[in-house]
């Protein structure tokens, strides 16, 4: 394999992994508070379409990002109201969010299909970009790629080193006990869910503003679900999420690699690869039931009703 190809593969893997990373970072915070939000796919799609439409309307990429983040948190607020306040089933509500987001994004986006915009520019990091092979692969990306990496470090610090992280873990492990010592469980969960929504919106915007950049129905093609699997794969650890996201990015572009190597395999079969990889990884990770139970937030998916305390 020649060096040029290696650089291209690394570059593409990071670019492909970035939306997964953004979404998974949001979801892991949400899950650490004990809420499982299966609506990632729907929120991503809404983020993608609203971000794209905002850019079409205003010509400003910043407005696109803002719109995507806002719509993502708005949708997660809807989800949060149902599961946190009303105690609706988290799995069903998450699915509803995905179905809703898929339908609504296709509906409102039907007018902008086929339009093109100017996506984010690449921002090479001086000096580092000149390193052979890895320089152009790692240090010649757009601002969102760098931001995602930065977000990893910030979130890892918040979760592991600060009182906010401690509170988040406490709520996710035992909301009743957290309530008893005076932590505002519902508020923590709302904030965590909304953060998850904002990140999903951002991940979606990455698809429509950077990755393609354009809007078509179902542009995310299951990435929201893969991000959910990624959280399990990473055992709810931020560092592992980054690693996992880029590995999945690599798996997703494997067909490009094989084509580059001159193998002729039907693109339709190769398109299955990320999904097959997800299943394989899930099987390997979950086989150790004991470990998964130890690492997963203890109250994940279970409703908490402070009214029942008495």
């Amino acid at each position: 394999m020649d060096i040029e190809l290696l650089t291209q593969i690394l570059f593409a893997a990071i670019k492909t992994g970035t939306p997964l990373l953004l979404v998974a970072l949001g979801e892991v915070i949400c899950e650490k508070s004990g809420i499982l939000n299966l609506g990632q796919e729907g929120m991503m799609l809404m983020g993608a379409v609203v971000g794209f439409m905002a850019v079409v309307a205003t010509g400003s990429l910043g407005m696109g990002i803002l719109g995507a983040v806002l719509i993502g948190s708005l949708m997660s607020l809807l989800f949060g109201f149902l599961v946190i306040h009303i105690g609706a089933n988290q799995v069903a509500t998450g699915l509803a969010l995905t179905i809703f987001g898929t339908g609504l994004s296709a509906f409102i986006g039907s007018g902008v299909v086929g339009q093109t915009i100017q996506g984010f520019k690449q921002l090479p990091i001086p000096y580092l970009v000149d390193i052979p092979v890895i320089g152009p692969a790692l240090f010649n990306h757009d601002i969102l790629v760098y931001s995602a990496v930065l977000a990893c470090f910030i979130l890892a610090w918040i979760v592991n080193k600060t009182r906010i992280g401690l509170t988040l873990k406490a709520v996710g492990e035992n909301p009743h006990a957290a309530n008893a010592i005076g932590i505002k469980v519902l508020r923590v969960r709302y904030l965590a869910v909304m953060f998850g929504g904002a990140m999903a919106g951002l991940g979606g915007a990455y698809m429509s503003l950077v990755y393609t950049p354009m809007w078509v129905e179902n542009i995310t093609a299951g990435r929201g679900w893969i991000a959910l699997a990624l959280v399990v794969f990473a055992s709810w650890r931020i560092g592992n999420i980054a690693l996992g996201a880029y590995l999945f990015g690599m798996a997703s572009i494997l067909h490009l690699v094989l084509q580059g190597l001159g193998w002729s395999i039907s693109p339709n079969l190769l398109a299955m690869l990320p999904y097959v990889a997800t299943v394989v990884v899930m099987v390997i990770i979950s086989a150790d039931h004991f470990k998964e139970k130890l690492l997963a937030p203890r109250s994940l998916g279970k409703p908490f009703d402070p009214r029942q305390m008495a």
């Binding site: 873990k169 406490a170 035992n174 006990a177 008893a180 010592i181 005076g182 004991f290 139970k293 305390m309």
Partner: protein
């Protein structure tokens, strides 16, 4: 703050005046008044459902009273939240602990402190070590809570209050999870705190403890204050009369029985923990004989759940050549097969395991007793219904009828239903976990008598309970579980509470290791 904290001679630390709390269908607290002096250890006594929990939750700011006033150091206060209660200097140790197992001791304590308090303390770990030495709590700030024993966790909870320099400590049934020896340690801590001026509200229904350590007692029944007394001037018996009323039937001593042939045999049962933070079973040996009740004592979390799951088959992992039911090897049979071989089971959790909360009593009867009502896979609902009606009548289950949902029944009535359902299948072996936990006196008596009757008909009963008194009352032979080890089994008449207490603390394990 400091001005109000300096209490004059006759200002009580805490005074309650006419506290009233109404829940739908239940008046939990009915004009309750009481007061605590600085340094006083005050017992709050009462049966389950007497209103103790609601009252302490009111004091700790979890429940808002409908009526009445709380005076703190002489001033009326409205305690809005647990955080506010802690701000005032009120700490509480819950019956079911509110610790986070995945965090360390220090992190657990940190979560309860405001940033200002944290700043004031400075080095939290150091402060924890100092307090630990002073009160002999033996708490290491860096350990993860999941690695601690129940007794250690309780001391962490107490530590959490001490770090905040509480002047009132509420202990909600603190001794129910401790071995007799650990209880002594707790009393020592309580006396030290009391001598330093900290008031303690001690909730219990164990009367000998109350007479031993408390200065005053308030007795609740049906949400009302029935009586107050100075425990040192009373006997456990006289207090018991105040608690349950004169009319209550008391369990008399029962005749002990001699078992015949062994029906349930465990030979060297060892099983690793299935759940994180669970207990592994280590070389469990016993023979349960027909016509006897074998009682197993032990503090919760020492392998009781794991042992029951292994015997019932719920654990699901095959075991070779260790479990025998009436001579048949059952280690590889699933739970359904074991039931068909004559093993029935009254589990600890009534709702959510012993009965499906949102299903009717008929459906819950069918849950384990399906054999007579299912032909070729089809359920004869009519027959099941009429049998259930009879079951309800025979065991005097108070409910609206066979269509009532399990969750609409009171704990005692549901327990009578479950016990009845399991007994009427005429089992060879009945396993029973905490059969009268949280059950009123009348229902407990009925359940005791039903178990003894079953024993006298020749069934073998394995009884697991945390209540030593109940075990001494019912069991013909006894042993204790500690950390997954089972002690030797002895006849109840030839042992004592002290010996069983030592076994609960694991004294037999070293001896066993010395003579393998």
């Amino acid at each position: 703050m400091s001005a109000t904290n300096t209490t004059t001679d006759n200002t009580p630390r805490l005074a309650l005046a006419n506290i009233t709390k109404q829940y739908p269908g239940c008046l939990a607290n009915d004009h309750i008044s009481l007061s605590l002096e600085p340094g006083e250890i005050h017992a709050l006594l009462g049966e389950n459902g007497a209103g103790k929990s609601t009252l302490v939750k009111t004091i700790y700011g979890i429940v808002a009273p409908d009526k009445g006033t709380i005076f703190w150091n002489g001033r009326p206060v409205e305690i809005r939240s647990p955080a506010h209660a802690r701000d005032l200097g009120i700490g509480m140790v819950f019956q079911h602990f509110s610790l986070f197992e995945t965090l360390t001791v220090k992190q657990n304590i940190e979560l309860c402190l405001t940033p200002a308090q944290l700043h004031e303390i400075g080095d939290l770990a150091k402060r924890i070590r100092e307090l630990s030495d002073h009160y002999q709590l033996n708490v290491d700030p860096e350990r993860y809570v999941h690695s601690l024993s129940i007794g250690e966790r309780q001391r962490v909870e107490i530590m959490r209050c001490l770090v905040q320099s509480v002047s009132l400590l509420i202990l909600d049934e603190p001794t129910s999870v401790l071995t007799p020896q650990e209880v002594e340690g707790l009393f020592r801590i309580m006396r030290t705190l009391s001598a330093e001026g900290c008031s303690i509200l001690f909730i219990s229904h164990k009367l000998n403890e109350v007479t031993e350590v408390c200065h005053h007692a308030t007795i609740l029944r049906g949400g009302k204050v029935i009586d107050t007394c100075v425990p040192s001037e009373e006997t456990p018996n006289s207090i018991a009369k105040m608690m349950v009323g004169d009319l209550a039937e008391q369990d008399a001593g029962y005749r002990k029985a001699q078992g015949t042939k062994p029906v349930l045999v465990s030979k060297g049962l060892s099983l690793s923990a299935k759940q994180p933070f669970g207990t592994s079973l280590k070389n469990i040996n016993f023979e349960l004989k027909a016509g006897e009740i074998l009682g197993i004592a032990g503090v919760a979390g020492n392998g009781q759940d794991e042992l029951m799951a292994a015997i019932s088959g719920e654990d699901g992992r095959p075991l070779a050549n260790v479990l025998f039911l009436d001579g048949t090897e059952i280690g590889r049979a699933n739970a359904g097969k074991r039931r068909r071989l004559g093993l029935t089971y009254v589990p600890e959790e009534r709702l959510g395991r012993g009965a499906v909360p949102e299903m009717s009593l008929t459906e819950n009867m069918l849950l384990t007793n399906h054999k007579p009502f299912v032909k070729h896979g089809w359920v004869n609902w009519q027959q099941a219904k009429s049998y259930t009606q009879g079951l309800i009548e025979r065991f005097r289950v108070k409910c609206h009828g066979d269509h009532s949902e399990a969750r609409s029944l009171s704990g005692g009535n549901l327990q009578k239903f479950i016990v009845g359902r399991e007994i009427e299948q005429e089992p060879k072996v009945l396993m029973c976990s905490h059969p009268t936990w949280g059950v009123d006196v009348g229902a407990a008596l009925a359940i005791h008598q039903a178990l003894l009757e079953l024993r006298d008909q020749g069934a073998a009963i394995l009884l697991i309970s945390e209540d030593i008194d109940e075990l001494f009352l019912l069991a013909d032979r006894m042993g204790a579980l500690c950390d997954g080890h089972l002690s030797p089994i002895v006849a109840t008449e030839s042992t004592s509470i002290e010996q069983i207490g030592e076994w609960m603390a694991g004294t037999f394990i070293d001896i066993e290791a010395a003579n393998p």
